[in-house]
């Protein structure tokens, strides 16, 4: 019985309709924000988002009182998908390759989401929840992949999963999907992964 779910037994269909409406609005807002974050960064004006979603600003604030709430809503689903992509990769490939493939998937995701990297390292407390989401969901996933690869003798460098995720996100910074920088992030992340294999040991 979460706080956002009201009593399971309620009679008025009107209320239910209301709720459905509200849900639709929230969805429209997330969709609009997704598009606009990609087009113009996470600092796009609130009114612009509301307008794109076809609702009033008030509605935006009702559903997402903090900007970070909207950011989280925008990225959470895809972040979850990213996490979920790990298991199949672990089954289908040997540890080293699973690691590479997952990181590349993550790279493409972050690169595609202009503003995500910026938000993560902005230092603005508003984005704390997003950082938290990373550390509770993505970091353990990468940690597992790294541990497997190490156990299999594939990587020799000691590396902190959170740090690595952050590094990859940073390398996607400023990349616009389809822009001139396309490919840059992937190449640099490739170097990072290659570095992981190098035999000099973790100093």
């Amino acid at each position: 019985m979460s706080a956002t779910t009201s009593s399971p037994i309620e009679g008025a269909p009107a209320t239910r309709a209301r709720r459905a409406d509200a849900r639709q609005n929230a969805d429209a807002l997330v969709e609009a924000a997704t598009e606009l974050f990609a087009e113009a960064g996470v600092d796009v004006p609130a009114r612009t988002i509301a307008a794109r979603a076809g609702v009033g600003v008030g509605t935006l604030y009702r559903h997402f009182p903090l900007r970070s709430d909207l950011i989280s809503a925008v990225f959470r689903r895809e972040l979850d998908a990213c996490v979920a992509a790990a298991a199949p990769l672990e089954e289908a490939y040997p540890p080293g390759e699973a690691l590479d493939r997952w990181i590349m998937r993550y790279t493409q995701f972050v690169a595609a989401k202009r503003g995500l990297a910026a938000a993560l390292h902005s230092g603005d407390p508003a984005y704390e929840p997003l950082a938290t989401y990373f550390s509770t969901h993505l970091t353990p996933t990468l940690g597992r992949l790294l541990a497997s690869a190490r156990r299999a003798g594939e990587i020799s460098q000691e590396v902190d999963a959170a740090e690595f995720l952050g590094a990859v996100a940073d390398l996607c910074h400023g990349v616009r999907p389809g822009g001139a920088a396309s490919g840059r992030a992937e190449r640099m992340v490739g170097l990072l992964l290659a570095g992981l294999r190098s035999g000099e040991g973790g100093d």
Copy 2:
């Protein structure tokens, strides 16, 4: 006794003295901007910078009509020092080590200058001149170091100098000197350098 140092035996006192004053203001502004860029990013309000320097806004605009002028003034000297540091390293060390040491020097510099990386990838045309400065000064320097290392058989990966510089700058993103992230940038750059040596060739 350079022209900018006011000689004790002055030739045109009035003008010289005024110039010295103005110069001091410009210096104070650069200093204030340096601090504030580090504390709060390159988007810190013009008024704040002027106040910190103890001058009026008008003075800031007189000396640095464009924001990029101030950015350049803040970073140019140290950027030049960074470029100049390459030659001695090339003489004192074998190519591979010279490369590593120079990159680490560059890393520390960028990490110390919060806001530099952000400015570089902001996409704001105001920072174009800074990007240009990079491509005309730093990129050739790294290009030379990379070429030597490759000739010496030290590195096998194909890599674009500008891309690599950008990647390092990105990895320094969000790092506050002495902050919790300290060391992170260096570690990740180390991985990048290790990746350069890996034998898988440029794909």
Copy 3:
């Protein structure tokens, strides 16, 4: 019972009521602008207008995003009244007198609206719409009056309606209602009208 009059039997109360409020603000702004344009010219600061209307600047910009929007709002109604005044005069008086009377009415209107003339000839593109309004509404009206008078053999001079309107507006320039210059504009416009009758023909 026009659409703009809030009917006592309201259909959609909430929205309607808000609209009424907003409308009142817009009206207050127009009123404040009218006064201030007269007192201090059309270049009076936006904040001053907002303050006089008892609203925030944002409200002013919401209702009148461009300065010319406010200008238009200030003058349009009276401009329309001026246009509408022509027909009755044409019916009630012979062509020559109708022309004189209408021009005098126009003169009094422009003289009462300090800033109108200035705006018209400022050359500032912001006031283009106002000039357009003149050429599409007032100019044809005067054109008709002039044509009738000429047909009736009352005037012999060839004159362009737009030019004549502009001239009258210019003659009202700097006139403050009730100020020392009062009467000056009317006298000079009278001379202009007398000149129209003179028999020397169009040169």
Copy 4:
């Protein structure tokens, strides 16, 4: 012995040189202002004028502490020339034609001096001296021409010289030399002069 002429006997040639320099600067400023007033109106920034004259702003303020001082300096010479043009016309032509010709000369002068008319009727006390100059120099000149013409039975309307001068200036408002409005002022002033002849008597 005007107030601006210092003691006629002074020894130091250096001082004299100084004075010559100062005079040159003042002249350069007047010239620059003349150009800029025509190009951009009387509200052109002080620095722009100083720059065009090749002097510092301080020099501008030394010579013309008030903006109106500069305005006056700019127009006085030509205003004087305008006044001086009356006598020859009075000798060469019959009163009515002398009046017409002088008014047209005045019209062309004012039309050529963008900003003059605006300054005259701005209501800004800064331009008072200019208005005073008008009433003490130009007004009597026109008064004389009008009186002669009336005495000769050429004009029947009663008209105030100052008012008429103001009206002509207003009609030149917004006219840019060589611009689209060229000719408009002359045509309207022609109407005014024709009106002066009309036989309806001064009402």
